[in-house]
Point group: C2
C-alpha cells in the first residue's frame, strides 16, 4: 500500500483524504512494478491516467473559459495546450512530491524513470483520475485551485500562447527580418489530416512542425525554431 | 434568436430546456454570420466549442472507463478517439437536426458549409458547451445517454479500436502476408515529439501516419492504408 507519510502529506498540504485508498495505491503503481510482481496481481495506473487526462482537460478549460471572457477561442486553446503539456504536469507532480511515492520496477528505477517527465505527467493524470473516482470533480477543482490555477493566474502559460508572435519578437530584436512559413506536405485520411510546415527566417529554415491544420502546424514550427534558437 | 421550433424540438426529443436562451443562440451562431452582421455585435460559437470539446471528452472517457473495467488503457484511448472524432460528432449533430438551425453567413452557406463535417462537429461541441454552462455536467451526461452512449453500447466505435489488427485481417483474407512498419522520422521538440511511420505489405508501402509516439503513428499508418485499400 501507499506510504502512510504520503497519506499524511496529502491531508496536511492539500486537505485530501481518500475514502478508497486502493485507488490512490493504483495511481502510484507503474506498469514496470506490476510486471515485476506478477504474483501480486496488481493494477497499474494507466486506466486512471486515461480518465485523469480528461478530468484535467475539462478542469483547465472551464477555468480558462471563465477567467478570460473576452479572449478568442484560439488564445484559450493555446493556453490550455501549455497548461496541460508534459512540462507543466510533470512540474505539478514534483511540486506535490508525487515522484517520491511512485512504485517502479527495478529496471525502470535504474533507468531513471522516477525523474522522467512523461512518467511524472502520467502520474499527475492518474492521481487526478483516482481523486475524481473517489470524490467527484469538485475535489479535482479544489486541488487545481492549489496547484494549477495559481500558475494560470501568474501568466505562466500565457507566454506560450502564440509561438509565431514569440518567434517574431525574438528574431526582430536586432531589426526587421523576413519570416516565411511554407506548407511542405498534407497527409493522412480526411478525418485525421496532418499538415507539415517549415519556417524560414531571411531564407534560412529554422524549424518545422506538424499539426491538424495549417495554423497549428505553423505554431509548432515557430515553437521548434524558438527552441533551437534559444538552445544556441 | 434561435428558432422557436428548435426550442420545442429540443424539449420534445431530448427533454432539454435552456434557462438562458442566449447561450443556445451563441452555440448556433457561426463566425461567418457574425462577420456579415458586425453591426449586431454578436458572439460566434467558437468559445463554446472550446469548452464543449473538453466536456465531451470527459463524458465519453468516464463512460468508457466504467463500461469496460477490464480493458487496458490503449483500448479505451482508441475507442475514445473514434467516439469523439469528426465523423462521429458530425453524425450526432445531424441526428439532432442541429444542421438545420446553425446561422451561417451567405458566402459560407453558398459554399456548402451547412453540410461540412468539421462545422457540424464544432456545432455539436458548442451545443454541449452551452448546455454545460446552462445546466451543469449532469445535463451533458443525460444528453449523451440519448445520443452517444447507445452507439458505444452497439459497438459502433469498437471497430476502430485497433487499426493494425484491422489491417492485418483485411490483407490476410487471401492468405499470409508480411506486414512491416518503418519509422521514417522523429521531429519536433522534446515536449511535442512527432513520429512518422509507413506501413508496407509484402514490401509495398500502402500508407503512412504521424503520431506522438511510435505506436500511435503505426495505428495512423494502418488506418491510412486501410482507407486507401477500401477505396480501391
Amino acid at each position: 500500500m501507499v506510504a502512510s507519510e504520503f497519506v499524511s502529506e496529502l491531508r496536511q498540504r492539500y486537505g485530501i483524504e481518500f475514502k478508497d485508498l486502493s485507488l490512490l495505491d493504483e495511481a502510484f503503481t507503474h506498469s514496470s512494478y506490476v510486471n515485476e510482481h506478477k504474483e501480486l496481481g496488481l493494477k497499474d495506473n494507466e486506466r486512471l491516467e486515461f480518465l485523469g487526462d480528461a478530468v484535467l482537460e475539462l478542469t483547465v478549460s472551464d477555468y480558462l473559459y471563465r477567467k478570460f471572457p473576452d479572449r478568442p477561442e484560439g488564445d484559450l486553446t493555446r493556453m490550455r495546450s501549455a497548461a496541460v503539456r508534459t512540462r507543466a504536469f510533470s512540474g505539478f507532480s514534483k511540486e506535490a512530491h508525487f515522484d517520491r511515492y511512485i512504485k517502479l520496477g527495478k529496471g525502470e528505477e535504474r533507468a531513471g524513470a522516477r525523474t522522467r517527465l512523461t512518467l511524472l505527467e502520467d502520474l499527475f493524470e492518474a492521481f487526478n483520475g483516482a481523486l475524481y473516482l473517489d470524490q467527484g470533480r469538485e475535489a479535482n477543482i479544489k486541488f487545481a485551485k492549489q496547484i494549477i490555477f495559481p500558475k494560470i493566474d501568474a501568466g505562466e502559460f500565457s507566454a506560450d500562447m502564440d509561438h509565431k508572435t514569440a518567434l517574431q519578437e525574438y528574431v526582430q530584436q536586432d531589426g526587421e527580418v523576413d519570416i516565411e512559413y511554407h506548407l511542405l506536405a498534407e497527409t493522412g485520411p480526411a478525418h485525421a489530416r496532418q499538415f507539415q510546415v517549415d519556417v524560414a527566417v531571411d531564407g534560412t529554415v529554422l524549424g518545422s512542425g506538424i499539426g491538424k491544420n495549417k495554423k497549428a502546424a505553423e505554431q509548432a514550427a515557430a515553437d521548434d525554431a524558438l527552441t533551437k534558437l534559444r538552445a544556441k
